[in-house]
Symmetry: C2
Subunit: 324 residues, 2 copies
DNA sequence: CTGTTAGCGCTTTCAG
DNA sequence: CTGAAAGCGCTAACAG
């Protein structure tokens, strides 16, 4: 089947292409009858607008790109799914793209944003060190919202939507204490990003204020010293003890312990890792909706005013509101 | 910063726009010196090609769309991540989009495929009953590959890339028996799609051939009768028994049993659901790569020959080769 | 080796 | 209420 264009429809209807263009948008200036006639012909002929042509003409696109490091972490896939819905409601399509923490892939995605097919982007820059690929985007005032992990540079504060991570750290401590924990080990890679740092700060403060004792995980550069950690973790054993940690991919060290584990967003370890796992989940829906709203404002220039940094309160724990 | 076009670069370099176009493609016909000069100016001025214009002119796009029901199931997110890499290697960008099992959202995505921004699509139609939105795509010979769940209609066999699900069903039975199971309950929603059906068939045949006894889960229409099931599951209790099942979102019925659970792709239940969980994972990487390869062939028309249905062998179990 | 030219399909002002 | 016309930015055939 050959492609059908506006001109084909115009010819068949005996009108001008611009009339067809208007009819398909339900332009109020046209006679209802004309609109109906044209629309039914377009329907019958299987006409589809060519978005490349539309974007070219208009000089702007209607796709929001959602750029995340992976889809295996709930913070990424759940916020992506919520953002999809919310973007649709606002008349945008949403395309998800994965950078895998790989600088080259990230830079490639950033490039694509400037090539006329993107109205704006929502970016989780976790695991990406170098954001210089975004400089040209900023120069062009390309609409970007950062979620979860902030950019760590002088981007506008209002361009960041993130959880109140310090509150989340405090809250997770409280939950573990409610579950019986009286002694803590904190495992955070504080050098890695702002989120980790803030969670640590919150947890540590809460513990100090409550006079609960804790030890630090053994770090090595930005990360953890896994070997030394194995040894120390091996000493744990009672449900009186809790380990507070980020989502650990290789959580072998924590397997089959009788302690309580508190972690953020989701537990990626073994199915039966410990006596009790307490998960503090971010409020993905609010994060996603807020990000899309703010991005839409940037795109429409609706709103030049400076927004404050969006600090989304930590949600109820263990909620699952997504597809599953 | 205003946008920079080919013409701007052409003017600055004192050449014609088409020369610039060629230079940026490293067209062998141009003098190396000219190419270098033009490229350095383009670089300096921050030139970016406008893909909307390119796609319009060429009449085709270079984005592959990966359409899945959700990102919470490993079959979806892992194959999406592998497909991203492989598509990049083949010179395509890959955009992921989620239909959530929602017919309207799926239809909308199908519409978008025909609007000039998509070179082809890889689709997992799980949870979508009505594929009629794809009819116009077929009429235009739009390149589509189905993965995981086949379309259940007369689409070309070679357009489907899926696991050998019957073999997977057999293999999972073997694993459970190796783990000590001597009695089985099979929980499948056979009416739901071909994958479920084939897994059931494989498991049932393997059990029959081995003379192992099994009972069926209690079904109700296409699904399971959860209440009746709860009661029956409550009777389970020994590690001699195994429950073979699809990935169950709400697996409360199976909590804290001493039986063995065998399931496909990933376990979505509680962190400590049973004495032993055995997961049979599809070979996402091969599925994704095969799908991208075949799609690329369709796009290039490289290959009019009929491919056979791609039946990917079931992979090693419990492998995790992705980002985490 | 490089320039000219004609459009890809759509939108949008301006005319009438 | 509808038509005419210009042009978005790029590419590719053809010309030289």
């Amino acid at each position: 089947m050959p492609k059908v264009t506006l001109y084909d429809i115009a010819r068949i209807c005996g009108v001008n292409a611009s009339t067809v263009s208007r009819a398909l948008r339900n332009d109020a200036r046209l006679k209802t009858e004309t609109i109906e006639r044209i629309q039914s012909v377009a329907e019958k002929k299987g006409y589809r607008p060519n978005l490349a042509a539309r974007y070219l003409k208009r000089g702007k696109a209607e796709i929001i790109w959602f750029i995340v490091p992976t889809l295996g972490a709930s913070v990424d896939w759940k916020s992506a799914e919520f953002a999809t819905q919310h973007a649709h409601d606002k008349g945008y399509d949403l395309a998800i793209t994965v950078h895998h923490g790989d600088q080259k892939v990230f830079d490639r995605a950033a490039e694509r944003m400037m090539q006329g097919l993107s109205a704006g982007a929502i970016i989780n820059r976790r695991d990406i060190r170098d954001l210089s690929a975004l400089d040209p985007l900023r120069k062009r005032n390309f609409p970007i919202i950062f979620i979860d992990v902030p950019p760590e540079r002088s981007y506008g504060e209002g361009l960041v939507v993130t959880t109140d991570n310090e509150a989340a750290g405090r809250e997770l401590v409280r939950r573990c204490i409610d579950a019986g924990a009286r002694q803590f080990m904190l495992l955070f890679r504080r050098g890695v990003n702002a989120v980790e740092r803030e969670r640590f700060t919150g947890a540590a403060r809460e513990l100090r204020e409550r006079g609960v004792t804790w030890v630090n995980g053994i770090t090595k550069g930005d990360g953890l010293d896994w070997e030394a950690l194995d040894e120390r973790v091996a000493l744990l054993g009672s449900s009186q003890e809790a380990v507070l940690t980020f989502a650990i991919p290789h959580a072998d060290a924590l397997r089959r312990k009788h302690c309580t584990i508190g972690c953020f967003d989701d537990w990626l370890g073994e199915a039966r890792p410990a006596e009790r796992v307490i998960v503090a989940e971010q409020d993905y829906e609010t994060i996603a909706d807020t990000a899309v709203d703010r991005l839409a404002n940037l795109i429409d220039q609706t709103d030049g005013s400076d927004h404050p940094l969006a600090r989304i309160p930590v949600s109820d724990y263990l909620t699952r509101k997504s597809y599953f």
